[in-house]
Amino acid sequence: MTGNAIAMEDVRKAYGGNLVIPGLTAEIGGGQFTVILGPSGCGKSTLLNMIAGLERVTSGTIRFGRREVQDLAPKDRGCAMVFQNYALYPHMSVRNNIGYALKVAGVPKEERRKRVDTAAESVGLRGLLDRRPSELSGGQRQRVAVARAIVREPSVLLFDEPLSNLDAKLRHGMRMELTRLHDRIGATSVFVTHDQVEAMTLADKVMLLNNGEIVQYAAPSELYENPATTFVATFIGAPAMNLLAADGEGAGIRLPDGTLLTKTPFRGPVTLGIRPENIEIVPDGIPCRTVYSESLGSHSVIVAALPDGQELRIATPLGRRMTPGEALSVRFMKGAIRLFDPESGKRH
């Protein structure tokens, strides 16, 4: 089964006079895993709630496939949701938690039993069906929440930061499981998070929001390699992309104090973006001075000051140690430089 595509057209949401989402148009591909990413307060949860039907749109239309759903109740939209704090019913057994939606829908007991078993099986909950949520670990509760969402075989699966309460190790495991689950059931999945690692690993496509507007909507690799704005450049990647205020003089780009950074042809003031891992330490390059260095095992991150004082983050593949104050010289890798308009932040 392939899930429905979700088409949003000029969707707006206002609370009182406060416009949280000022007109958003986008299409989420059927059967795709789409991650809505953004800083807190960017309207991503509001958007998800409007897709779910938990909040009304102020104006605009939302379609699941060809069906207009913005005025339908959540249960009539054929979507299910996994919540951040699991929101399991504390007084019900795992079996009843998973089966509650079926019970409300009036599914006969025998069929309910079978479908709960199947759903529980597919998230690895066998043997825990008679427990109460309070007797389960965080990871197990999350599984119950997922099973509860998939038991109705929804065409759209919504996730509201479901992994943020798990510890790092469990989170990694659940990410893998969610990907496999998505591939298996084929529903359209929409996943809200503020964690870029989740976005990068889970998504077919990432919708990056800021202030209720789509900043970039593309595949994760595209977001990483070709950020549309300086906002995307700094939001994605850790450590973030370096952004340097520089001037193009036709044949090359220099720092304000005259140091030549690159021979990329450009004219006029510019914001030069370069990822930390695309900076090489070479014997004769741009001179700088180490400010700080930290070793992360697989690589080191060095913070260095350029001649005019702007700071540069450099990721070195080998555990190279630098002491503060030590001089080094660097080169920007060819093809890795991204240029942005210093006024609008948009990419040239």
Partner: protein, 306 residues
């Protein structure tokens, strides 16, 4: 610094003992007095600490010679009604207040809370008028809409609707039940529940009513039981309103009946031993209830999810 906890323990213990003695003294005196015969009581010249042997005899007289056993049943029914109505209304009202957002919420909440500020004792006369004819608002409504005049034209005679709830269980219980103190407690409890719970239920297709019955009600069991007990005992000890609303002994609750025992003949010294036996008889059920439900009450008033 090492504190002398034993000293603190002893002091605390002493204070507790004094407190217990203070609270128990009237009950002990009631017991002692109830064990005297009328003659012994009169010759002792008042309430004292004498022990008699007529306790069972006094109890037998309460059961056989007074109307207290029947009135005990009245008390049970009225208290159950009071507690049931209070809990049911407070529960549904709080559900609406907490889970439905409206900018008028604070006004509704304030109005609800205002009922706490107006004790029934203050409104006895108006309440009596309404209970004596609950159709009064209907008559009034017909009057101002002109329907009454229309009816008079058609039927030929002026008609006033009359329905008195005096001397009925519901008539005694309803006015006592119109107070919203539990809203405070339930509200605190509902607010402590996970915020996504109603949303999860909505996603599962449950209507708000279904959410209330299937999820909220089972979760609220402990505070519900605690407040129910509370209001049951509250209804049990009501005096003034039942005295006004129930004129015949058959409809009166036991506490009113007990008071009536005191003033049978004006010239005679009241039969205090019998009265005390009656008091013990009447308080037996609430005491047992509190004893059995103690834990539930404490847990329920803890205001948090278990």
């Amino acid at each position: 610094m090492v504190e002398d906890t034993r000293g603190i323990d002893r002091t605390a213990f002493a204070i507790l003992i004094i407190g217990v003695a203070f609270i128990l003294a009237p009950i002990v005196i009631a017991f002692l007095t109830a064990s005297l015969s009328y003659e012994e009581f009169v010759s002792a010249g008042g309430i004292g600490l004498n022990v008699g042997s007529s306790f069972l005899d006094n109890m037998r007289r309460i059961v056989t010679e007074t109307q207290l056993p029947g009135q005990l049943w009245n008390s049970i029914v009225i208290s159950l009604l009071v507690a049931g109505i209070k809990c049911a209304f407070a529960f549904t009202a709080t559900f609406a207040l907490v889970f439905y957002e409206s900018r008028w919420n604070w006004i509704i909440f304030s109005l609800t809370i205002a009922t706490v500020m107006l004790p029934l004792e203050l409104l006895v006369i108006t309440t009596y008028q309404i209970v004596a004819n609950v159709a009064m608002p209907l008559n009034w409504l017909m009057q101002i809409t002109g329907l009454a005049w229309l009816a008079e034209e058609v039927v030929g005679a002026r008609h006033e609707f009359r329905l008195s709830l005096l001397d009925t269980y519901i008539g005694v219980a309803l006015p006592i039940a119109t107070s919203s103190t539990s809203v405070f407690i339930y509200r605190q409890f509902f607010l402590s529940l996970p915020k996504d719970l109603p949303r999860a239920a909505a996603m599962d297709g449950a209507s708000p009513f279904r959410f209330m019955i299937d999820i909220l009600l089972p979760l609220s069991w402990t505070p519900l039981v605690a407040t129910f007990m509370f209001w049951f005992i509250g209804g049990w000890t009501q005096y003034l309103w039942p005295l006004v609303a129930a004129a015949t002994p058959d409809a009166q609750p036991a506490v009113v009946g007990l008071a009536k025992l005191a003033n049978t003949e004006p010239d005679r010294i009241p039969d205090v031993p019998l009265l005390m036996a009656g008091a013990l008889f009447v308080s037996f059920i609430p005491v047992v209830l509190i004893g059995v439900m103690q834990r539930q009450i404490v847990r329920g008033l803890n205001l948090s999810e278990k």
